[in-house]
Amino acid sequence: MRYAIVRSGASRSFPDGDPFLGRAVPADAAEVVVHLAGAEFRPAAGRAAVLVELGTECLGFHTGEDPAGEGGNVLGFARYRNGDDPPSALVELVRRPGTSADAVAAARAVFEEAGLAVVVCGDQAGRIVDRLVRPKYNAALRLLDEGLATQGDMDLTCRLGLGYPDGPIERVLRGGLAHHHDVTRALFETYGSAGFAPARRAVVEAQRRGKAAVPPD
């Protein structure tokens, strides 16, 4: 599946140098158009699919919320990244109730031909992965604050007891507490559930980031 890329600034899914960028073709030769983060979304009815890279926002942010008219050939996507970690092999493809099956198939082909794993999810905040892991990281940070165990023992328990490659706290710290704050704040704004509310340590780190942006007297 041939695709063209529209970009304007940095993409979290496909940073500079990513092989996916190099395989793009000119727009007039493409069946699919991929809008990377920051690029202005423009509908293109004649394409097999139009893909919009998402951050913490829903696809509806770009297309508008219209229950009667959602769908067509537009899909959102995000390649999962744990904060500043390199992008994973997972692409979360976001469809809406009326999205055509052909558009989903075209979008899937674009990413699978690039060697990426694709899952399809609805247009909900956090998609699949952040919706599931962020409350767990919040809980781990809270339990750490409450003295349940040391960070080392909590991470070790998850590695040994569940076979995880890393523990929740080492993972969220590696990805960045400020990043965790940004993701959970967006989730909390959408769902209002306590489990999504940013953990204290993430709030503090975000506050420190704001403080650092203020020039000293």
Binding site: Y80, N82, S88, A89, L90, E92, A117, V119, V120, C121, G122, Q124, R127, I128, V129, R131, L132, V133, P135, K136, A139, A140, L143, E146, G147, L148, A149, T150, D153, M154, L156, T157, C158, L160, G161, L162, G163, Y164, P165, D166, P168, S193, A194, G195
Partner: protein, 292 residues
């Protein structure tokens, strides 16, 4: 130097108890397996012989070592038979009243220096210890399933557990080649405190139409490198077991994430219990798995 020489396991006819007895005997401790009837002990003996036999086949131990371990294992259906135990680890049914009653009975059988370990995964060590007249000798020792293969043990002192008891139990786990971690006496300790709500969140994601079960699991495995997705894991442990875990945690923590998801309750009512019933979030035919 640990003064523990003889270890007893209560509920040794169960899967967890069988594994704990293997851990103790394999480390060279005289090990007494206790259960209320001969049948579960017979089953445990067969499983133990099978496990150790495979260990020999795989070159992990010699036949002589296997025979030595089996020779160190005794069994009884009489609680009085645990009188010489320096450490008693209970792995009986996960019910506070049952465990407290066992503690009270052990008080009358074991010496004053004996340590009582509880393998509970959901109950409070302090509350279990309240069944004993010597709560300072009671300590949480949560093994992971299967105990004979998993190194981790969550070690939790109750409010009244003495430092001496905790240190002795900790040293014993290390003598067995296990890896202990220290946690407070809180619901689910570390492992289940994080896992049970996470698994519930995965169920709720399916229920909310975020994605189907196969894509939820695929996403978690691809993004995080987990060997098993949360819904496949729930199918393995049993959907009814997940309900029981929720019912143990939620009334204590009042954490909405620990509450039983409605979809889970409906699936259990429909007999969709996971692998053991052939269908849960996925469908199973023997060992093969098919997408939901």
């Amino acid at each position: 130097m640990s003064s523990i020489r003889t270890v007893a396991v209560c509920g040794a006819g169960g899967t967890m108890g069988t594994g704990i007895a293997i851990v103790a005997a394999r480390a060279g401790f005289r090990t007494i397996s206790y259960d209320v009837a001969e049948a579960p002990l017979d089953r445990a003996a067969r499983q133990t012989a099978g496990f150790l036999g495979k260990s020999v086949e795989r070159g992990k131990m010699t036949a002589q070592e296997r025979d030595h371990i089996l020779g160190a294992m005794e069994r009884t259906t009489d609680l009085e038979g645990l009188a010489e135990a320096d450490l008693v680890i209970e792995a009986v049914f996960e019910d506070l009243a049952v465990k407290k009653a066992l503690m009270a009975r052990l008080d009358g059988v074991c010496s004053g220096s004996a340590i009582f370990g509880s393998n509970t995964s959901t109950l409070s060590i302090t509350e279990i210890a309240a069944g004993s007249k010597r709560p300072d000798r009671v300590v949480g020792m949560h093994f992971c399933l299967p105990a004979q293969l998993m190194k981790l043990i969550e070690m939790s002192p109750g409010l009244l557990t003495s430092d001496e008891t905790f240190r002795a139990a900790w040293a014993w786990t290390e003598a067995c080649g296990q890896i202990p971690v220290r946690t407070q006496d809180k619901p689910g300790f570390i492992l289940n405190a994080l896992l049970v709500p996470f698994n519930n969140d995965a169920i709720r994601a399916v229920e909310a139409g975020v994605a189907d079960a196969a894509d939820v699991d695929r996403a978690i495995k691809a993004a995080l490198g987990y060997k098993m997705g949360p819904l496949e894991l729930i199918d393995l442990i049993g959907l009814d077991t997940q309900v029981r875990l929720c019912e143990a945690f939620y009334p204590v923590t009042l954490d909405p994430r620990a509450a039983t998801p409605p979809l889970l309750r409906r699936m259990v009512a429909a007999g969709l219990l996971g692998r053991k019933s052939g269908r849960g979030f996925f469908t199973y035919d023997g060992n093969a798995m098919f997408g939901a």
